[in-house]
Amino acid sequence: MGRYVARRLLLTIPVLIGASFLIFAMVYALPGDPIRALGGDRPLAPAVVAQLRDEYNLDDPLVVQYAKYVGDLLQGDFGTDFRGREVLDTIEQRLPVTIQLAVVAILFEAVIGIIAGVLAGIRRNGFLDNVVLVSSTIVVSVPILVLAFVAQFVFGLQLGWFPISGIGEGWYSFVLPGLVLAAGSLAYVARLTRTSVAENMRADYVRTAKAKGLPRRTVIVRHTLRNSLIPVVTFIGADIGTLMGGAIVTESVFNLPGIGRAIFDAVRAQEGAVVVGIVTLMVFFFIFFNLVVDVLYAVLDPRIRYD
């Protein structure tokens, strides 16, 4: 296992470098001169422009710029934006919001998704099964964007149950955006659990458990569910990394000051350092959680051995 993890970590490096370079190169290609834009209506003095360009390595070739950036990054320096603010400060300030959002989303995903999936799976083709199948097909098809507005309109404006903008009410503010962000994965978790439970209900060990007279509840919870949840747990783990992408839209619509919103603002303002810094962080999370999941998989399912 140790060797496997080490090998995977090594494989992570080219992906991390490749992805951040890709974004770096694209940000580098952004039109317009960010330094000139800084001056606004009054053009900056040529000497100031030259000094700023030098400070941000803007006159070096792309690869050299990138190498300098990575060099700083390895020492924990994410650089500064064009207003002199540390990118790391921005991340430190914004990340907790996104983490809160992700936690709420994962909770919804796990709790509602697994309950719905189990109810559907234990009686395949029953009434609940069909309800879960149809509703998950519908939920999967609704774009996050649309879902966000439906949620805002119904639960925020019409019923007035939840705030629809900002984070003024603590965890409560994250209920609606969390649900919206989780919806697609929630439907997928329900389906995955359903398939997995339905399959295991036919397994020999479940028949044995029934035959020795265990109550139905015990059979389902202790025998079927424990085995059925392996793929579900791993999916949810991998999804933590994926949720970051969805956060861009959710945080924009619900006006949450997280890193999704930060990256969107940074792309618009051509703040290259901020974009690259946050993307590198997101890619790192994505790869990290995928690795955790793979290791988790072997821990949960003793039949799987990596070495």
Binding site: T137, L157, D294
Partner: protein
């Protein structure tokens, strides 16, 4: 389970369409000849309500994209009168009017064309990239495979909307329909590549490929004539679902302000314009949202139905 399979978990159901290309051995009672995979699939499809609902919706939206005049009841979407601004839906104007006083039904109907064109165009590029890269990686294996797989991993680690957002913001592609489609495809081809790659690896070790090789067929011929046709079923399922996903992504990008620009007519632009009026004129967000959702749903339902029909493992 490798990281690759793990990352593809979300698409596991799609991949489940794995076939070895062997004709299904089931024999029709009345007709003793063997049924092909496709005729079996058609029999399944005919019984599946998802297929009929999805197909019907697809036809409606296709017609809407081709002949918007008919659906808009002859109203010009750009003929507006400010005196009608934000009027609620009525018998004469089913979807009401937008802020500029344009008939909203006409505007929503005319939005179908851009969405469908982008969805189909993007998926074609996705297929092109996915099939070419995936087939090469799977067929040649070794170093080529490792290299191409790592490149795919790099793209896979970047979320679709984020990648497309940055590319479109650079403006190198422009801001038109083609630009949006290419930007989406550029960050959306990875699953297709992995799908094709795994299919090709699965199929290339089968007996009929060995037979073709023994008869002296070239690599190119084996790839094109023998391997690809047998890897096509799961790709078809994936393609159908992906059109829906890409249409939703287009609306999202346009909503975020980096996709299509006015005066283009697009559901993403309509939702964006309506969002600040959610309190006073909710119909402005509601109607494009409903139509967008139904379009996405059509493709996803059709994909689900195709998967059920083409996946022999799920057959009872």
């Amino acid at each position: 389970m490798t990281d690759q399979q793990q990352a593809d978990l979300r698409h596991d159901e799609v991949e489940a369409g794995t076939t070895t290309g062997l004709a299904s051995p089931s024999v029709d009672a009345t007709d003793a000849r063997q049924n092909s995979l496709w005729s079996d699939a058609w029999k399944d499809l005919k019984r599946n309500p998802l297929f009929w609902i999805g197909g019907l919706l697809m036809l409606v939206f296709l017609a809407m994209a081709l002949l918007p005049q008919v659906f808009a009841r002859g109203v010009d979407p750009r003929e507006c009168s400010l005196s009608n601004s934000q009027q609620k839906p009525s018998a004469g104007h089913w979807f009401g009017f937008d802020q500029q006083g344009c008939d909203y039904l006409a505007n929503v109907v005319y939005g179908a064309r851009n969405s469908l064109i982008i969805g189909v165009l993007a998926v074609l590029v996705v297929l092109l990239l996915g099939v070419v890269v995936g087939a090469i990686a799977g067929f040649y294996g070794g170093l080529t495979d490792s290299l191409l797989s790592r490149i795919t991993d790099i793209f896979y680690a970047l979320p679709l909307v984020l990648g497309a957002l940055v590319v479109l913001r650079t403006g190198t592609l422009g801001r038109g329909v083609t630009a949006v489609a290419i930007a989406l495809a550029l960050f959306g081809w990875m699953t297709a590549m992995r799908l094709v790659r795994s299919q090709v690896i699965a199929v290339k070790s089968s007996d009929y490929v060995a037979a073709a090789r023994a008869m002296g067929a070239s690599n190119g011929r084996i790839l094109v004539r023998h391997i690809l046709p047998n890897a096509i079923a799961p790709v078809l399922v994936y393609t159908t679902i992906t059109i829906g996903v890409l249409i939703a992504a287009e609306a999202t990008l346009t909503f975020l302000g980096v996709g299509l620009q006015r005066p283009a007519i697009s559901w993403g632009l309509q939702i964006e314009a309506g969002q600040s009026l959610l309190r006073t004129a909710p119909h402005l967000v509601l109607f494009p949202s409903i139509v967008l959702t139904l379009t996405v749903m059509a493709f996803i339902m059709m994909g689900d139905a195709l998967r059920d029909a083409l996946d022999p493992r799920q057959r009872a």
